[in-house]
């Protein structure tokens, strides 16, 4: 079993190191938001696998900022059957947490 990724981030982005850091369980937040129902680690489901997304980002030299757009702004996504659906928006406005999840996704 893959060890759970714990990513340490500042509690409030931009407040500096004097703020106690906390660990974000990015994988758990990803799953709490039901992202895994469409995005499996390795196999294609309704959406592309995390491995495929990660490879695509590497190829296009994109980083977590691009992933954040999808996670936070929603918008339409095109499915394999040609239809379009609204992409779900992550249920947190904490940029540090969002970023941790995006980074975790892109390292699968």
């Amino acid at each position: 079993m893959m060890p759970r990724a714990l990513i340490t981030v500042a509690a409030v982005a931009g407040l500096g190191l004097s703020v106690p850091a906390f660990a974000v369980d990015a994988e758990e937040i990803f799953k709490e938001n039901d992202c895994h129902k469409c995005h499996h680690a390795t196999k294609a489901k309704k959406g592309p696998s995390l491995a495929k997304i990660s490879a695509k980002y590497k190829e296009k030299k994109l980083n977590e900022k691009e992933a954040l757009k999808h996670m936070t702004k929603g918008g339409k996504v095109k499915l394999d059957d040609g239809t379009e659906e609204d992409h779900k928006v992550i249920d947190t406005k904490d940029v540090a947490v969002q970023t941790a999840v995006a980074k975790w996704m892109l390292t699968r």
Binding site: K31, K37, H40, K45
Partner: protein, 441 residues
């Protein structure tokens, strides 16, 4: 009283199969040698057939409608834990009564073992009950108010319980729903095919007037809407659109129903049985008589039986006996005697709503046996299902076949939708499946 030796766990346990002289003991099964499959059940709230096909089931309405398996999306190893916790967190639309369920566990880890011999299939289940201090075998009673015997106690979601007008009392149950591949969609979506808006405690629950006016409900002589399969309706999204009894009979004859076996901590356990029923146009019992029968005489409006004071320690019990170590179960031939209206009843006396009898259980309804133990919160139940049943309301269990099964546990004073359920599993009788029944030597 007949003592039936039954190996229900790692060690031999003597089960007192009260009042069931005709019950034949099963074989000694060394369950340590039978593979155990872990199955996690979760609290589904009001996730009906219709909700699952609505946009509220985010991103999955279309997929569910086309028949995709629940586990095609819900495939994470911790899926059931996560979903159950979410639905009970007080913010989820699938459980509008979460406030009444404080302390309820979102999921149950259960182990399932299966075996068979020339006569029967044996299914053994183990799980922890949410209450570690009581076996959950209490049941609502009839309370004497000085003039009349009135229903007392109900499950936790009942409006009178929520309002504090009657205590939360209900028996624990363990249910198996089984399909032999003839019910379209069951292999992928299991029990969720039977759970619909309009049913008891579900969204858009059918009103008394609506049920009374409905042609199918009138034909069935039913006063509420319970589990049904989509095939029994002309519009799968509307419980009111029942097909004719002739059409339903044809579906049944072609095997388009699911078997439903229920072990009940109060109403079947001490009779050594588990109900045998089926779901098609309604949640039906098989033909014959169950292990339990109503204890209310509809003509006199008085109970039919009371406790034998010499056996029970009194002719009735009181409200504060609920939850105690005293077993409040009325059993013919063991502790029940005919009700005596002149026995000096006082306000607050309570008698059980049902009386048990293994002897009275007859026909297809009495096919299943079940045995259980409960100790320190660990519930163990063994179902015994005869192989080769040919009744028209049974699924025939045969060696070499694979069945689709769904499990449900009613725990901690719940009934109706207030259960934990599993995603569909396969059960193979001597053949490869999620749960493989092994041949006993």
């Amino acid at each position: 009283m007949n003592k039936t030796a039954w190996i229900i766990g790692a060690t031999t346990v003597t089960t007192i199969a009260a009042g069931c002289a005709s019950m034949s003991p099963g074989p000694a099964v060394d369950w340590n040698k039978v593979p155990a499959t872990k199955v996690t059940l979760f609290y589904p709230g009001q996730s009906s057939y219709q909700w699952l096909r609505s946009e509220a089931h985010a991103g999955a309405a279309k997929e569910t409608a086309r028949g995709d398996a629940c586990t095609s999306c819900h495939d994470d190893p911790k899926e059931e834990q996560r979903q159950g916790a979410k639905i009970l967190n007080g913010k989820h639309p699938l459980e509008p009564q979460a406030a009444a369920l404080k302390g309820k566990n979102g999921h149950i880890d259960m182990t399932v073992q299966a075996a068979y011999d020339d006569k029967n299939a044996y299914l053994r289940f183990q799980y922890k009950t949410n209450n570690p201090n009581h076996p959950g075998n209490d049941y609502p009673g009839y309370r004497f108010d000085g003039k009349e015997w009135k229903a007392f106690g109900a499950m936790r979601l009942d409006k009178n319980v929520v309002a504090g007008k009657t205590p939360a009392v209900y028996e624990n149950r363990l249910n198996i729903m089984l399909d032999d591949g003839k019910v379209p969609g069951f292999a992928n979506q299991g029990c969720w095919l039977t759970c619909h808006d309009g049913e008891r405690e579900m969204q858009k629950e059918g009103t008394k007037e609506e049920v009374q006016a409905n042609e199918l409900m009138k034909a069935l002589k039913k006063s509420d809407v319970r589990k049904y399969l989509p095939a029994s309706r002309t519009d799968v999204n509307d419980w009111r659109s029942g097909k004719s009894l002739d059409e339903i009979a044809k579906i049944k004859a072609s095997g388009g129903f699911v078997d439903l076996m229920q072990w009940r901590a109060h109403r079947s356990d001490k009779a050594g049985g588990a109900d045998d029923g089926y779901v098609l146009e309604y949640r039906n019992f098989d033909k014959g008589s169950n292990h339990f029968a109503s204890n209310m005489d509809s003509k006199t409006k008085q109970p039919k039986f009371m406790f034998d004071p010499a056996k029970f320690g009194g002719k009735a019990f009181a409200a504060n006996d609920y939850g105690s170590k005293k077993e409040l179960i009325l059993i013919k031939g063991v502790n029940a005697v005919p009700f005596d209206p002149n026995a000096g009843w006082k306000e607050g006396d309570i008698l059980p709503q049902y009386v048990l009898s293994a002897e009275d259980a007859k026909g297809s309804a009495a096919d299943n046996k079940a045995f259980s133990t409960w100790k320190d919160g660990l519930q163990t139940v063994v179902f015994v299902r005869p192989l080769g049943l040919v009744n028209d309301d049974d699924k025939t269990i045969k060696v070499g076949n694979v069945y689709n099964v769904g499990f449900a546990v009613h725990d901690d004073k719940m009934t109706g939708r207030g259960h934990h359920v599993s995603y569909t599993k396969t059960l193979g009788i001597g053949t490869k499946a999620d749960i493989q029944a092994v041949k006993l030597n």
